[in-house]
């Protein structure tokens, strides 16, 4: 690896150039946030005492940075804020990769989001719909987008009584409230029923019933614990115990989604992607990839290597974990878009697994992997739903809510997980720098830097690289997670809660669950009309066999399409992206129509029974994101489905 790095460096003429590139881009992004940082700090100071409703002046991009004594001195106080802001405002993907993924301490990340985001210079509304419509987002971008959308307004202003408490504190209060009345007790019990016995928190959350898989959960949990303890020998022991041979694709490792960035992305591929100049997310924080799908599949290393493992997990959760042979097949059919574009998924070879294991085992910087077993995930969903129940007392708990919350929490999990993955990668890269430094100077690899960037003053100092490494070291030491399983889970809870509250308040989901289900009924009636105008033949057929379209679409609408049988998670996420950005139920109608129109040729000669069973087990190919979204985009149904107007209409209670 180091040899290869050396080689690539000598091709680039000097390692300092690389270093310089990093530093230049860091400076560039710091220069952006330096000005706004002060404002952020001021704002947070006032936030605690006064209300934070008024958005405040958008911070100007600061002046060019003074060459301070230390490049990283800005991190002295508010590391999190600075890095995050740098991340959010980063002008180029390079700096995103290098400054933020390296430095963002996840444990305190989300709590700092709110003031930061209100200080953002870009109004959220500027995010063009088209972007979301046309491109899949990385998990991190998605999480960012959702956070931006949900933290910008309602949540930061406290609860309904006009309290201006720290939203996080408010959340904790709600979450820890004990049930007092009979009704409250009952809604707790209902949540328990659905969560405890349900299939909660699987990343590839599927509607299918599962057999008892506590056995494999157990293995998974122990594996994760072992990795947490950073002891490779323990992992190997568990492996041996469960006869998970090194040659066969190791189910436990593969199915642990949180390990995937390490386990599944071999460094060669990463470097290859970077060398080819393909950044995973060229649009930075809200980015996506505009290249055509067949290129995209190969140029997004992080996402690509994350996906198969998630897909596999979902296929596992569908219950055939005893047939590893089916993995590859399922994966190809599964969450990837169109089979022709998809490079066949190769299970990591023994070499890769052992490499990653030893990497984790020997890694002595305090990097924890975001892990939680199924119980941990259930706990997140449960706590969030309790808090929601107390916040929206008219709703309490209604079946179907857990699906929505579950999906939001999955978004949070995978977003933060990818961040952690990037973080880990960077630490690994940094280690390579250290190793390089430790070697005696080589004539072909001059260590003296020659800056060609904005800051030639520091040129020639042999300490530039060393300084960089030193600072990174310091930071990675400080960026430890005192208790990864609890604190990160708490962060995820909070993120989930915040996003869901936004959905409930601004996107009218509250009315979808409040007693009477008026909005739901309204949506179903609307859909019935749409079906009549757009698919008259199918509508007639439904009438003929005595089927009300409501019987089919009700569950889809109520769970925002999470409950659609066999739907891949990626598809749901895409639909949600559009819903969240557009703030209109239009996309749900479109997708429902799309499913119906795709089903039409198959369904037309079926009787009632067959139609029902068809819609209870929709063919997966029909629900692939590309197919479905393409089809739904072509549904021209007007724009009268705005969340805000629907909310007003039904918010008389």
């Amino acid at each position: 690896m180091i040899r290869r790095l050396k080689k690539s460096m000598s091709r680039r003429s000097s390692p300092a150039d690389l270093d310089a590139a990093v530093e230049v881009s860091l400076r560039r992004s710091f220069s952006l946030f330096k000005g706004s940082r002060v404002q952020v700090l001021k704002r947070t100071a006032t936030d605690d005492t006064e209300d934070s409703q008024e958005p405040g002046p958008a911070p100007e991009p600061g002046p060019a940075p003074e060459p301070g004594p230390s490049l990283f001195s800005v991190f002295e106080n508010s590391t999190v804020r600075s890095t995050l802001l740098a991340y959010l405002l980063a002008p180029s993907p390079v700096s995103v990769e290098h400054c933020v993924r390296a430095l963002a301490p996840l444990a305190t990340l989300s709590r700092q989001f709110a003031p930061l985001l209100s200080a953002l210079p870009h109004p959220v509304s500027l995010i063009p719909d088209l972007l979301v419509l046309s491109t899949p987002m990385s998990p991190v971008s998605r999480l960012q987008l959702y956070c931006r959308l949900s933290m910008s307004t309602s949540v930061t202003t406290g609860n309904a009584e006009g309290d201006v408490d720290d939203p996080f504190v408010v959340y904790l209060k709600l979450r820890n409230t004990k049930p007092k009345t009979q009704g409250e007790l009952r809604f707790f019990e209902d949540i328990e029923k659905d969560i405890h016995r349900g299939i909660y928190g699987e990343p590839g959350q599927s509607r299918r019933l599962q057999d008892d898989q506590s056995g494999s959960d157990d293995v998974l949990a122990r594996m994760e614990n072992a990795l947490l303890a950073r002891s490779s020998s323990q992992v190997a022991k568990i492996r041996r115990e469960h006869k998970l041979s090194q040659r066969a694709p190791d189910r436990a490792v593969i199915s642990a989604p949180f390990l995937s960035p390490y386990v599944l992305s071999p460094p060669e591929v990463r470097a290859g992607g970077e060398a080819a100049g393909c950044d995973p997310y060229p649009l930075g924080c809200i980015g996506g990839d505009f290249s055509p799908p067949h290129k995209r599949r190969h140029s997004a290393p992080a996402a690509d290597y994350l996906q198969p493992s998630l897909a596999q997990l979902s296929s596992i959760s569908e219950g055939d974990h005893d047939e590893p042979k089916k993995f590859a097949k399922r994966t190809n059919l599964g969450s990837q878009a169109l089979p022709t574009f998809v490079p066949a998924f190769a299970p990591p070879s023994a070499l890769e697994i052992s490499q990653s294991e030893s990497a984790i085992g020997s890694c002595n910087s305090d990097v924890h992997v975001l892990v939680a077993d199924v119980n941990g995930r259930k706990k997140v969903v449960r706590n969030v739903m309790r808090a929601l129940g107390f916040r929206f007392e008219d709703v309490g708990y209604c079946q179907g809510m857990d699906y929505v919350v579950g999906h939001v929490s999955n978004i949070a999990w995978s977003g933060l997980n990818e961040l952690a993955g990037g973080f880990k990668r960077l630490v690994d890269q940094q280690k390579e720098y250290v190793d390089l430094l430790a070697q005696p100077h080589d004539a072909s690899l001059p260590m003296t830097a020659s800056f060609t960037g904005e800051q030639p003053s520091t040129a020639g100092s042999p300490t530039t690289l060393g300084f960089f490494v030193e600072e990174l070291n310091k930071l990675t030491e400080s960026v430890s997670f005192p208790n990864p399983t609890t604190s990160v889970a708490l962060e995820i809870e909070y993120l989930t809660y915040t996003i869901t509250v936004k959905l409930f308040e601004d996107r009218a989901i509250r009315q979808l669950f409040s007693p009477g289900l008026a909005l739901l009924l309204d949506l179903c009636t609307q859909f019935k009309g749409l079906l009549k105008t757009h698919l008259p033949v199918l509508a007639d057929h439904f009438d003929e066999i005595g089927l009300d379209s409501q019987h089919i679409v009700l569950a889809w609408f109520q769970t925002l399409f999470v409950y659609v049988p066999n739907v891949p998670r990626t598809t749901v996420s895409r639909i949600w992206d559009i819903f969240f950005v557009s703030g209109s139920f239009r996309v749900f109608h479109q997708v429902a129509l799309a499913i119906c129109s795709l089903a039409q040729p198959l369904v037309l000669n079926m009787n009632l029974e067959e139609v029902f069973s068809f819609f209870q087990a929709l063919p997966r190919q029909m629900l692939e994101e590309e197919t479905l979204l393409l089809c739904s985009n072509s549904m021209d149904i007007g724009h009268d489905y705005d969340c805000a107007t629907m909310r007003k209409k039904h918010a008389r209670a």
């Binding site: 009952r186 209902d190 057999d211 179907g400 019987h551 029902f612």
Partner: protein
Amino acid sequence: MAEAKNEAKMGEESPESSDSEAENIKQFKVILLGNGATGKTSLAQRFANDQFAQSYKQTIGLDFFMKRITLPGDVEVALQIWDIGGQSIGGKMINNYIYGAHACIMCYDITNVDSFMDLEDWYRLVKKSFKDEKLPMCVLLGNKTDLNHMKVVKDTVAHRFASENSMHEHAVSAKTGDKVQTTFYQVAATLSGVLMPKAEMDSHETVVTAQITGYEQHDSEVEGGQVPEYTHKRQSCVLS
């Protein structure tokens, strides 16, 4: 309104829907009502497919099952089981589902008082949506008799509720399959006006195998599911 008409039409037609003309099979719409987690889906699955899923899945909206059965005298009937999500459908929406139903099975969980108490509300909903028309056949069904040791709904109370509202009464277990077939056969027979002799009825009963359940003695969430040491046997007891 048009919707209601459609439904009405459907209600009239469904006993002889178009595809059954050739076979002359009567179809009956049977709806399952009751709180969440009382086991409605399990019942329907046990009856239609003779399966029982160990893990619980909530029904959102509607699940639909269909089964053809033969009654004494070679009367063939088809039962459409409409399994309606416990919590996610309520109020106005229910009309749409129960209109045209021939039978209405009200389920409760014998280990959960609330699920029984709430049946009154469910029954009121049914009466409301049928307003002036004749009520469908109503059945009071207590599920989970396999958990008889945890039973909290008293028989006398259930009897009273059933007789007050002139309902048929059954107690079943979807998990073991106990009495499930009998109940549905009984419903089908009553609906089609076929007399079911007792012996005939019992012949549909599946033989229930007794299960020995090894309950987990230690909570998996406590101390990582480790069995505390003091429970291990050190040595065998020696009698001197």
